[in-house]
Subunit: 591 residues, 2 copies
């Protein structure tokens, strides 16, 4: 069975030496002293290794069961959920006014990575709740906040997001769920929602569904959509639970992975709902949570890859098979460990260099969200808006690819379910799909984010890359990083230029290259992260840090990423510059 | 539920217009007249669509069950197996002396693709038997051939291959199964074999296991290995079945996919076995079947992708979501079909252009095996030896990637098991692992095949590419093909040169780039196939062929492959030229 240990050292390095949190000037970050974050990481790591990780395979094998209209989670989930609540882990960045600890969102992500690596399906119950809390925090009335947030931040009640219907997912303008206004100010909600993660379960007393539906008078398409709070059990004025609401579980989907999380069809049959935020502004309310939600999925992408990598690494050191081509190394044994073989190392280095780069990008992204939320930094908001589709799309694609590679290291054993490597692959797969399929992320990036505010944010990004390279002019040790990053950044700019020159007269010329652009930008982002990490590693080495091996490994891993992954940028650019014609030339009928 | 239709038109195009089988001068090919091959394709397609494809999901959901030591296959498999036998499909290229139809191996592959696309797990029962027949045909005594082949060619008895043991797969020198010679000339086989596909089942009266084991006196490592015939039921002199042999099923593995095929642990406890071929030459006997077996797995790679593509294409035309960015197309409906969106088309074109190219490469590879088997063509044998790891490794990697992409087109629905797209992904995954994991294919290619016979075969391949390009000098219509192919071929040569210059002093410099080389060569091979297909399409168009749309789609699809996929070659070359250092620099302890 797979095991998991939180990469606390690497996380500390990012927080304290790359992001330099205590000196970053973000309100609240001053509390993130090394001793404090180390303690958080240690405690979260303990819960993850000892409680959550051992349940990962259980959740996969047992799945959730719908019995008499109620969903039962796998054995052990209830106790683990209780342990998570008791540890205060669900309330980390919740508003102190409602019982939260008020920590920065960054810490929510750091801890979130640990929990996702250990048990992605399990962590979704609290993850979805976190998203629902953010929506209520941002758009709820004082009364709604008081009614729901304390219970939800504590995860006594959990939350869900209800967008998708059988005939529409991406194109929400088509949705059919209706909200009829009632005399008492509430609404009657009717319709069917599908793919509702954590849609029902036995882990909490109540479930607060956030539901998109159309109320009369809003017009066609997405403009008519509003957002409603629809509790599973209505809440009495004194906060106690009242009548069961008219929402029922139609079925649980049988999925490729994340079996431990109940993905439900929910049928709303005149259920009582309460408007959240403004009438007919439901889409806008949803979109305010988008960056956080998508960053959270991008985090899943590399967090599952991290768990898969840890196990592949252990197997590669342990399994004896063949001899090193340069001469036997384990001469006392019948064969050498797999890790002596260059192609095994290639796969391990791919995984390691991706995961560490993606972690840096995700933490940086989380810090931008904090800068916006805690100090109203508009530039940070624009930048994270630009980076979000990259973090979501690139990281989940690559995370899946890396989980597949980790499985590959096990040979035939990787294909056997009991090894657990298959589960990582099957679980990681969903992250490429939900919260906006990755093609939609690419569309968002190229169709909206590049041009947002006159292109100011992408220009700012390029300036940032340029400044990073310039800061190391003449530093030979940094050349492997800055040379590759400069070249990749130029390629990204050339791609943007191609879109500008061709996209106006033919939008397909931009959209046909959108996916490649997302990946090209992903590599540039990770290249930038590696340059920053390399700089921090040199600072530590120059200062005579005691754990030299860690910093030297960091530099070696980064050089690998630059040498072996940034060459993908030229390929993406070539594809982009081939334009719309190859993609669009074939008649639909000729497929 | 997914459906499947054999791509008969494309197969005919390859046979009759690209390979020009009837004029190829290969003994037996003269029978492959268009009317004959069309009839074969039609009948095979009917069996596949009506009988095999509907059982694919059944096999996945039910799996195989071990009850009282006997394996039960999923509902419907028995009747389907009977239908396959009755149609004579198992005997297609079997030797006529033993009841086979004596058709070329090429036709076995053509029909094999159809059956694999329809139901990969099911087709493995006869596929493994085919491999065992080839081994007995090549190495068996006349008596062994007479005893086993007629029954096995008819699939009254099926076959298996037993190589892997718990502690060794790739490194067979470590194997522990023992063969003790008996006074009557037989051997007593003792040991445990794992991952035995079709290891037990209820589809046939008997199962003929081919088992690698060590007999005394053979020395260390792989030199001591011999190959044995170990029937589940011993065969009496009159051909009737005798005593149950001492081989039992330890368990069935619970796997990520191909649930319909029983992957068994087989325990040999002094089972009676008969030497097949020469004593201590078992590895050589296995290797004679290697090209066919690996080509068969490379075929699985694209055959599953074909099935996945067919369903993704149908979904993309049917599912209404969003509007074309260039203006609504389905104005009478609530939204446009997915296929209007450039990024959906990108995925469909990726799949289509890969599958059609891989089909051409596989059929060409099969024809090289026929040239060797039927006319002793040593150059063809050398060439297919070179191409085999590429066909296996590149095509299964890409086939999996394309199945994932097909699933992606379904959005969230693709993640739900009942749609069937998850099964394609899970089934396709194994092809990257078994019959030599793809990293081992890359090692075989770069470590052995490139240098084989003084590099004669790879030189021959380069000459062939050059000749193809030269044949179209001055033909502007062919420029998109020949320009890209020339550039890619130069990159491949540069990679080979890098290995030559650096691999001698440091073999890791070659092995660290082996995987990229395999992929680079895969793209060059598919580029060559696309050039040949384009040439054939132009010939047909120039001759005024009636189905112009088919040939024009062929050209458009090929141009897509050249424009959007061959740019990967430069990336692979850059990675290769980064050498061993980035891959090997990190201490094993620093991972």
């Amino acid at each position: 069975m797979p095991s998991y240990t939180a990469p606390a050292k690497d996380m500390q390095f990012l927080l304290q030496e790359v992001l330099n949190v205590t000196e970053a000037g973000v309100p609240g970050y001053e509390e993130l002293e090394p001793a404090f974050t180390a303690a958080v990481l240690e405690e979260a790591g303990k819960l993850a290794s000892e409680v959550l990780a051992p349940l990962n395979a259980v959740g996969d094998a047992e799945g959730c069961v719908l019995e008499n209209g109620v969903v039962r989670t796998p054995a052990g989930f209830k106790a683990a959920f209780a342990a998570m609540k008791e540890g205060g882990w669900t309330a980390l960045d919740g508003h102190p006014e409602h019982g939260g600890q008020g920590l920065p969102y960054l810490m929510q992500c750091v801890v979130g990575e640990i929990f996702v690596s250990a048990n992605m399906a399990f962590n979704m119950y609290q993850g979805l709740t976190h998203g629902a809390c953010s929506a209520i925090q941002a758009h709820g009335s004082d009364e709604q906040k008081a009614t729901y947030l304390p219970k939800m931040i504590a995860c006594d009640w959990t939350g869900t997001m209800n967008l998708t219907e059988p005939h529409c997912g991406t194109d929400l303008g088509l949705l059919r769920s209706r909200a009829e206004p009632q005399a008492d100010g509430s609404y009657r909600i009717t319709g069917q929602k599908i793919f509702i993660s954590a849609g029902d379960h036995d882990l909490a007393e109540n479930i607060i569904h956030l539901v998109l539906a159309k109320a009369p008078g809003g017009g066609e398409g997405t403009r008519g959509i509003s957002l409603f709070i629809v509790p599973k059990f209505l809440v009495n004025a004194d906060g106690s639970l009242g009548a069961r609401n008219a929402v029922s579980v139609g079925k649980i989907e049988k999925k490729m992975g994340i079996h431990g999380n109940a993905t439900c069809v929910l049928d709303y049959d005149g259920a009582t709902g309460f408007l959240l935020g403004e009438l007919h502004k439901g889409m806008r309310a949803m979109f305010t949570m988008m960056n956080e939600a998508r960053l959270g999925v991008g985090l899943q992408g590399y967090a599952v890859a991290e768990a898969a990598y840890q196990n592949a690494r252990a197997y590669a050191k342990d399994r004896l098979q063949g001899r090193a081509v340069t001469g036997a190394e384990n001469t006392a044994g019948p064969a050498d460990p797999l890790i002596v073989h260059p192609d095994i190392r290639r796969m391990l280095m791919d995984q390691k260099s991706f995961v560490e780069g993606a972690r840096a990008l995700t933490f940086w992204g989380a810090s931008l969200i904090d800068r916006h939320n805690r100090q109203g930094d508009a530039a940070a908001d624009g930048l994270i808006g630009l980076l979000t589709p990259v973090i979501k799309g690139f990281q989940t694609d690559k995370g899946f690819e890396m989980a597949v590679q980790a499985q590959q290291i096990f040979g035939g054993h990787g294909y056997i379910e009991e090894q657990g490597m298959s589960q990582f692959v099957r679980d990681a797969r969903i992250a490429m799909i939900y919260e906006g399929a990755n093609g939609v992320q690419a569309l968002d990036l190229v169709g909206r984010k590049l041009a947002a505010d006159g292109g100011r944010h992408v220009m700012g990004f390029f300036e940032m890359v340029k400044a990073e390279c310039k800061a190391h002019d003449g530093d030979d040790r940094m050349k492997p990083f800055t040379d590759a990053l400069k070249a990749a950044s130029k390629q990204l700019q050339a791609a943007g230029m191609f879109f500008m020159q061709n996209g106006m007269k033919n939008p397909n010329a931009a959209l046909a290259g959108s996916y490649d652009f997302m990946h090209l930008m992903g590599h540039v982002c990770l290249g930038l992260m590696w340059a920053r990490m390399a700089r921090a590693a040199h600072v530590a080495l120059d200062a005579g840090a005691p754990d030299r091996a860690f910093y030297e490994a960091k530099l070696t891993t980064g050089r690998y990423y630059m040498a072996r992954h940034l060459p993908a940028c030229a390929m993406h650019l070539a594809r982009i510059e081939s334009g719309a014609e190859p993609v669009m030339a074939l008649d639909a009928g000729a497929f």
